[in-house]
């Protein structure tokens, strides 16, 4: 088939779509909405996982907890020191952290002690400064928490502790905006203040962060650590990665599951419009055959028609999904996928979309659509034009 002839067929395909304007528009809108919904959920879910993965890259290789009576309990510092002696362990650092309920915001905040050996190079994460390890009465807070409490750098913040007056700290730093997803409810304080706020005695820690000489040895060291005391629970990075995949995958599954009726309606609409040849279309194909078009010409024209609609809907759907997720910050979608929160962080996600993913979405949308369009057209084109016109 010559290029000129093919271009003519393509032109005819566009004209054919224009002649059936309402029907073509309904197909385009149905497919576009379905692509936008599925792609929007996938894009936001992938971006959330990527955010967590970046923090995971610098997180400790292992975290050792202690369970007593089935609940997390404090780890004695003597046990923490014993980990240093395990083969393959570079450093074992006890950490003090926990939750504190703030009545003024009706929500929990996460109080964390500063651990300079772990957070080296983290000064840039706050506007102001992280509290020095020995500077009691100073803290760094998440941007959303600071906004909710109406405090800025230099202001005094009173946190409830076991005394009736509460403990106060001067806000030394506020976490920068791009880190809102990781720091919204954080209060970073020196270790002595964390112990006082959370009621952790001086000879215990919440958990132990373990850094390994070779991260690949995590399973071996985990077993050795667990063998030291059966009440210990060791969390390695593989588990954290799996949890994130499950949590965000499950949320995306919930949202897509709830959208199934809408998706089905949109797809059925598109498929019905694409595959159901009406009487006028059958007549049109019969007239084309009678006026000298071959079955091949008819199929080429119908294929191009489906490609125009399929690629158009894929591109438009992806564009809408991308704009929804990353230009408008996923309104309505982010809370469903990221989770509910009293201190809701501003969700400015970074896209992870690749060309391969974009082309895959296009192929998954366009190829079935082409098949659904071309098969009935072939059946109609294979009929004798005279008998088709008489029907």
């Amino acid at each position: 088939m010559s290029a000129r002839r093919l271009a003519s067929l393509c032109g005819y395909a566009l004209g054919s779509l224009a002649r059936r304007g309402r029907r073509s528009l309904a197909t385009l809108l149905g497919l576009t909405a379905a692509v936008a919904l599925v792609a929007g959920v996938t894009l936001v879910s992938d971006a959330l996982r990527a955010e967590a993965a970046e923090v995971r890259a610098r997180a400790p290789d292992l975290v050792v907890q202690r369970l007593v009576g089935g609940r997390p309990s404090l780890v004695p510092l003597s046990l923490a020191r014993a980990f240093e002696g395990l083969a393959g362990v570079r450093r074992a650092t006890p950490r003090v952290w926990g939750y504190l309920f703030l009545p003024s915001i009706s929500g929990n905040v996460t109080v964390v002690s500063r651990v300079p050996s772990l957070d080296a190079g983290a000064q840039g994460v706050v506007e102001g400064a992280l509290p020095e390890p020995d500077a009691r009465g100073r803290c760094a807070v998440g941007r959303e928490l600071a906004r909710a409490l109406g405090v800025r750098v230099g202001d005094k913040l009173v946190l409830p502790d076991r005394t009736s007056t509460g403990a106060s700290c001067v806000v030394a730093g506020v976490f920068v905006a791009p880190l809102a997803l990781h720091s919204a409810d954080l209060v970073v304080v020196p270790e002595a203040d964390a112990r006082a706020l959370l009621g952790v005695p001086a000879d215990a820690a919440t958990d132990v962060a373990v850094e390994l000489v070779a991260p690949d040895e995590a399973p071996v060291v985990s077993r050795a650590a667990a063998a030291m005391d059966p009440s210990l629970r060791v969390v390695d990075k593989a588990l954290v990665e799996r949890v994130h995949a499950l949590v965000y995958g499950r949320r995306a599954g919930f949202v897509l599951g709830a959208s199934v009726p809408a998706l089905l309606v949109l797809l059925v609409l598109a498929i019905d419009r694409a595959s159901g040849l009406g009487t006028s279309e059958r007549r049109e194909l019969a007239i084309l055959k009678a006026s000298g078009w071959s079955t091949r010409d008819v199929l080429a024209m119908k294929t191009w028609e489906a490609l125009l609609l399929g690629t158009g809907a894929s591109a438009l759907g992806l564009l809408l999904a991308y704009g929804w997720a990353f230009w408008l910050d996923a309104p309505g979608l982010a809370p469903a996928l990221a989770g509910w929160s009293t201190l809701y962080p501003s969700v400015a996600l970074t896209p992870t979309l690749t060309l391969a993913q974009a082309l895959l979405v296009t192929a998954l949308t366009t190829l079935p659509f082409v098949a659904l369009t071309v098969v009935p057209a072939y059946r109609a084109a294979a009929l004798d034009p005279q008998s088709a016109l008489r029907q």
Partner: protein, 102 residues
Amino acid sequence: MTRRALSVCLPVVALAVLVALPLDAARRRTARSWALTRAMGGVVPSPDLAVSPGARHLRHPSSEEPWAAFTDGPATRDAAPSGGMLAAPAAAYREHAARSAR
């Protein structure tokens, strides 16, 4: 523009959009200061995102014990707004336990 030319241009425009979006995504990834995000790995108790603080197993799901969702009794639902939607990731805990036992 003739209909013939338009019918060829439309898929080209669609493909251009499909190529432009990943390019924009790559530009945004490059512009983002990931070093700061990674540095948070040494500040936060776990790499979980700071959302869903309604219940322990929702705020830091990766560091909670497997039965955190049922902390008040066997198979009880927790009262957190998102608790009904998201259980503790027990499957991951089971896999981890099996792997550690080997």
